[in-house]
């Protein structure tokens, strides 16, 4: 079997690399999931469950732990590795109670002045009867508003799929960092191809046109950092060490900002996207 971290993905010239190949890599079997990041980055992790309204969404793991010696709140979408685990985690597609569970932990983080790490890996928020009945749109909308004014630093780390509103619901952050083979898009390339071109086989063209790779996102000013990936899965440890330092430095630096400055910068980060010049 072909290694998912096939070296051909890492060619020097980004323009030669097909976007869709990255999308496939972001979804590949064996790729580390949210829980792997928690296990490797966070010590003394204590998982906390439930949204206090409807239930506990297994598609997202939330809790508190230490990043080096710094208490942090972690909110990680979890896809699971085994089939059984994937079903339990609903393939990382959250219901409204997942967004509300995440928000509850963010509010606690704010109260106790802990930074927030959101680990994003989802094909999208779940599309189902119960999800609609319990207000999927409202739940995401509320997170967008509340994250915009959350008085503590937030970093959203994209480790695999960044599917539309479902990803954005955990990504109104001070910093958006992306693994080299993660993507972030308004719609899946398959969905885009079948809607616009009535041909789901055109997903490669769609992936290219949507500008959804980490490199595109950095070009467009939406992601601040790209985390390059090792060629082999077993070398992934390197990423965890690297991220541990990176996150720690980021949060140490953001402590120097006043709350007002922090929130002003976060607002401006999103406010400037598509701002029309000359007004």
């Amino acid at each position: 079997m072909k290694n998912i971290f096939d070296s051909s993905v890492y060619e020097a010239d980004e323009s030669d690399v097909r976007a869709y190949k990255r999308v496939m890599t972001s979804r590949a079997k064996g790729r580390p999931t949210g829980k792997d990041y928690i296990d490797n980055l966070i010590s003394d992790f204590i998982e906390l469950h439930g949204d206090r309204h409807t239930g506990d969404d297994p598609a997202v793991i939330t809790g508190i732990g230490k990043l080096k010696n710094m208490p942090v709140t972690v909110i990680a979408i979890e896809k699971g590795h085994s089939t059984k685990e994937k079903i339990k985690r609903n393939f990382g597609s959250m219901h409204p109670e997942g967004y509300r569970k995440a928000l509850r932990q963010m509010k606690l983080a704010e109260k106790f002045a802990r930074p927030v790490i959101c680990i994003v890996d989802t094909s999208g928020a779940y599309c189902g009867i119960e999800a609609e009945e319990r207000g999927q749109g409202q739940a995401i909308a509320e997170n967008l508003v509340e994250m915009m004014r959350l008085k503590t630093p937030i970093v959203s780390l994209f480790i695999g799929e960044g599917g539309s509103g479902g990803a954005l619901g955990l990504a109104v952050a001070d910093k958006v960092w992306m693994l080299e083979n993660s993507y972030y898009s308004v719609i899946s390339p398959e969905g885009c191809a079948s809607i616009l071109w009535k041909d789901s086989k055109k997903m490669k063209e769609a992936a290219q046109s949507l500008r959804l790779t980490a490199y595109d996102l950095k070009d467009l000013g939406i992601a601040e950092k790209i985390i390059t990936e090792p060629e082999n899965l077993k070398d992934f440890k390197r990423i965890y060490y690297f991220l541990e330092d990176l996150l720690f430095d980021e949060f140490s630096k953001s402590k120097e900002l006043s709350t007002q400055e922090l929130l002003e910068r976060r607002y401006e980060k999103f406010r400037k996207i598509g701002r029309i010049q000359g007004l």
Partner: protein, 294 residues
């Protein structure tokens, strides 16, 4: 035993209402009123004089079915005569990410709708009460939200916050505009930020949801109103019905995602018929006016 559908990886087609043909009960919300002499109401099947329906603000005189109406007609219907002052009307979208075919789509939408984008912003009065307003325009690429729509809505909230005005926003949208890629998704965060700041400045925001309001608009400013009302029968949801049916592989129940269902589930404050909206909004504005505070 686990349902077969559980093994189906959930699809992510969240912003897809735009191109999906409506079917079955969705037909209730008929097409825009044609200029023919007679029209058939898809709800009660009566043959009606189109002039009568137009006169009645695009509502069936027999059964009350709300037909789709044009955005300019809505503005005239709602605001005091001559009170509307348009803002940001010159902004036009560009093909920011060189998406294939988008330039042509924009041209078509402009000539078809006679408008430059999918939202009209400005200020106006309702029975003497001033408000900042935005009306989304379903005739322009299904009211999809790109950067210009997001920018105009953000600007109107910022303007309202600076000028101590309430905001009334009419939504109709298939969701985020996929031809602008991630930039359109970011408009959800941007508009939410502006709604939040207007709210923190003490501003009132009333969202009026019309058929259909889905996708990224539902998951942002449509669901962020202090008060959220809807027209009867309007489809309101995050995912479109077709997407849900494809994901769960079963038919959706009658009335699912309709305004009445959204009231029942607690996500919409009230259903207000088109002809009552002016009076209803006027009352709400007066109840929130500063003069009412002792």
């Amino acid at each position: 035993m686990l349902k077969k559908s559980l093994f189906q990886k959930p699809e992510n087609r969240l912003e897809t209402y735009e191109k999906i043909p409506v079917k079955g009960e969705q037909k209730q919300q008929g097409p825009e009123i044609p200029d023919n002499m007679f029209i058939n109401c898809p709800s009660c099947r009566e043959t009606l004089l189109s002039a009568d329906v137009k006169e009645n603000n695009g509502v069936c005189i027999k059964c009350g079915n709300h037909f789709k109406i044009g955005v300019r007609q809505r503005i005239n219907m709602l605001l005091d005569e001559g009170s509307f002052v348009g803002m940001y009307g010159d902004m036009t979208s560009r093909n920011l990410i060189d998406f294939p075919g988008y330039d042509k789509k924009l041209e078509e939408a402009t000539s078809k709708s006679g408008e430059k984008e999918a939202v009209i912003c400005g200020t106006g009065k309702i029975k003497g009460s001033s408000a900042a307003i935005f009306f989304m325009n379903g005739d322009f690429m299904m009211g999809s939200m790109g950067t210009v729509v997001g920018e105009k809505i953000t600007l109107i909230f910022e303007y309202a916050a600076a000028n101590d005005l309430p905001v009334i926003g009419y939504t109709i949208s298939g969701g985020a505009r996929m031809q602008e890629g991630i930039l359109s998704l970011m408009q959800m965060a941007k508009t939410s930020g502006a709604v939040m700041r207007h709210g923190e400045a003490g501003g009132l925001y009333i969202a009026v949801l019309t058929n259909p309001t889905t996708g990224g608009v539902t998951a942002s400013f449509a669901m962020e109103g202090d008060i959220i009302i809807s027209e009867p029968g309007a489809l309101i949801g995050f995912a479109g019905p077709r997407v849900i049916e494809q994901t769960i592989r079963q038919k959706l129940p009658q009335g699912f995602q309709r305004a009445e269902f959204m009231v029942e589930k607690g996500f919409v404050d009230a259903i207000v018929e088109r002809k009552e909206q002016r009076e209803y909004l006027s009352k709400l504005l007066k109840l929130h006016s500063k003069e009412m505070l002792v």
